[in-house]
């Protein structure tokens, strides 16, 4: 269970100018559900993801993971409960290391599995994300975007997190590759029962994959509720406009 209570984040930009990235954001996501966070570019989605991960401290308010503040967790404990997938697949891996080495390192650092089971765990995870083992000896720039992103998911799943955050995970990918990715993700989610938080500007992707939804505009939650309720009976003008934009291309 992850709860955000009145989270605000203000970035200092020198010479006294400040930029409000998040403004009083509060919501909670019960364990095992899939929640979407929608908003156009520049509305603070990525900052929200990094605050939830505990990578950046909120200026005020708190992020609670199973009742305890994220900041009180050590990095290792945090890695065992929450993992993140980034927007640019090839950049989520060290360019100087082969995938096998990156995966091994993730296991070594998080100590979730003891050393002798590493190879078995990696092979098994690769079959789950439908990647061939020859990719293990490739460098991040030598594979397609879709394959790199699935490798990132494999690395995250190896650590058996309770929560998975996707920050625009598929916006760089083609439609068919995106479909493949979500197919892999949803099967993994059903198998492990983990919570998933999908952050994207694409309302259609979110409407098809998430049960609940929050729409963010300029750092604050404009509207929140079940996907079905928001898409058919949006209350605020902004969400109406957003839904109308996507519907425009449907007819």
């Amino acid at each position: 269970m992850i709860e955000l209570k009145h989270v605000t984040k203000i970035f200092k930009q020198g010479l006294g100018q400040t930029q409000i990235a998040l403004d009083n954001v509060s919501f909670d996501i019960p364990q095992g559900t899939i929640m979407g966070i929608a908003g156009n570019s520049g509305c603070g989605k990525s900052t929200l993801a990094r605050v939830m991960m505990g990578l950046i401290p909120p200026t005020s308010g708190s992020v609670l993971l199973d009742g305890k503040a994220v900041s009180s967790y050590s990095r290792k404990e945090r890695s065992q409960s929450i993992q993140m997938i980034f927007q640019h697949p090839a950049q989520s891996f060290d360019p100087k290391m082969m995938f096998e080495h990156s995966l091994m390192e993730a296991l070594k650092v998080s100590q979730r599995i003891d050393r002798d089971k590493f190879n078995a765990a990696i092979r098994e995870m690769l079959s789950q994300v439908d990647l061939s083992e020859t990719l293990l000896h490739r460098y991040p720039h030598e594979v397609s975007g879709g394959e790199a992103q699935r490798m990132a998911i494999a690395r995250a799943l190896l650590l058996k997190p309770k929560i998975m955050v996707m920050d625009e995970g598929t916006s760089m990918l083609d439609v068919s590759v995106q479909a493949k990715l979500f197919d892999v993700l949803t099967t993994a989610q059903k198998r492990t029962g983990m919570t998933m938080i999908l952050i994207s500007h694409d309302l259609e992707v979110i409407s098809k994959t998430c049960q609940t939804l929050a729409v963010i505009y300029c750092g604050s939650v404009v509207e929140q509720g079940t996907t079905e309720q928001l898409l058919t009976r949006p209350k605020t003008a902004y969400v109406k406009k957003l839904v109308e934009e996507f519907a425009f291309f449907d007819i």
Binding site: N40, S41, D130, S144, G145, S171, M172, D174, V175, S176, V177, Q178, A179, K180, F182, D183, H201, D202, L203, E204, V205, S207, K208, T209, L242, E245, F246, F248, F249, D250
Partner: protein
């Protein structure tokens, strides 16, 4: 009189350090004047390479074979000087990311006047007046002020309209748009659609729109060309192709969209087989014949063609 663009046996390969990578493979297509044709395909299908080859805007390493007739001129055979006269004057281009399409250290006004002065040899004041007219036509209230400013002072939407004007300022008969909706959020995607609608009303009907956004193409284009790994697999009337597709790949593409439930196209089941049909290894309707028989782009009816054994 607007000419058609006819491309015959076009093959484009890139001579990289170690090996030659083929991007476009034996393409035959005719883009009809007065029609908006959408070229759809995923990354690596060769759609952008095909589009950019028309204006010879490919990097040096590209080697092009085949012909691309614009009226009676073969664009591939043109020397640099005569191709320069075509670019902007007869065929305009709208590029991908608007925020990086303008020179950041040169005022917008001067960049818009450049082609006018170069192609039509008009005086600066006259060029300035034409540019102001175009700016007003695209919804800029204070054209004079905008002409003094720079691209980094403009919003995404405004930059979109500026690059549209840039492509149209010399009233070209044809327009090529390369991935206009790539990486845009919903609002900017809608505003670029309005820009194209504006172009359609006031400037030219003959357009080639290269995109991977199926629904944008369905809404905007009349004709659709679907490409897969450098080959054209299906051509047809837009509404028909994107509601009742013929080729298995197009079907798979539509099924993979969020609206249709995101069922993925299977990955290469048996990639090792060298087969005539490039989609063989991912196709549910694959049969022994597909591997052996070479399939041509068969014409089903006047404006529908498909490359698949099922329709042979």
């Amino acid at each position: 009189m607007h000419y058609d663009i006819q491309m015959a046996d076009v093959t484009i390969e890139f001579a990289l350090k170690s090996k030659r990578v083929s991007a476009v493979d034996q393409v035959n297509v005719t883009f009809k004047a007065g029609k908006i044709t959408g070229v759809i395909g995923e990354t690596g299908s060769g759609k952008s390479v095909l589009g950019m080859s028309i204006l010879q805007l490919l990097p040096k390493q590209a080697c092009i074979s085949g012909t691309c007739f614009f009226g009676h001129k073969d664009l591939y055979a043109l020397d640099a000087e005569s191709m320069r006269k075509i670019r902007g004057q007869e065929i305009g281009l709208i590029v991908q990311n608007p925020n990086e399409a303008l020179n950041p250290v040169r005022t917008i006004g001067r960049q818009l006047m450049e082609p006018l002065i170069k192609h039509f040899d008009v005086s600066r004041t006259e060029a300035r007046k034409t540019v102001e007219a175009h700016l007003r036509c695209f919804g800029f209230e204070m054209p004079k002020k905008v002409m003094q400013q720079y691209t980094f002072q403009m919003s995404g939407g405004m930059n979109q309209r500026l690059i549209a004007i840039m492509g149209l300022i010399c009233h070209p008969s044809w327009l090529i748009a390369d991935e206009p909706t790539k990486g845009l959020d919903a609002i900017l995607r809608r505003s670029i659609y309005d820009v194209f609608w504006e172009i359609r009303q006031h400037y030219t009907q003959s357009m080639i729109v290269i995109t991977h956004d199926l629904f944008f193409a369905k809404k905007l284009c009349e004709q659709i060309v679907v490409m897969y790994q450098g080959e054209i697999v299906e051509i047809g009337e837009a509404k028909k192709v994107l509601t009742t597709p013929l080729h298995p790949y197009t079907k798979g593409l539509l099924m993979a969209t969020p609206k249709a439930g995101m069922t993925p196209i299977p990955d290469h089941l048996n990639p090792s087989h060298e087969s005539r049909c490039k989609f063989y290894s991912r196709c549910q309707f694959a049969s022994a014949k597909c591997k052996v028989q070479f399939v041509e782009l068969r014409e089903i009816d006047p404006d529908t063609m498909v490359r698949c054994i099922l329709y042979d």
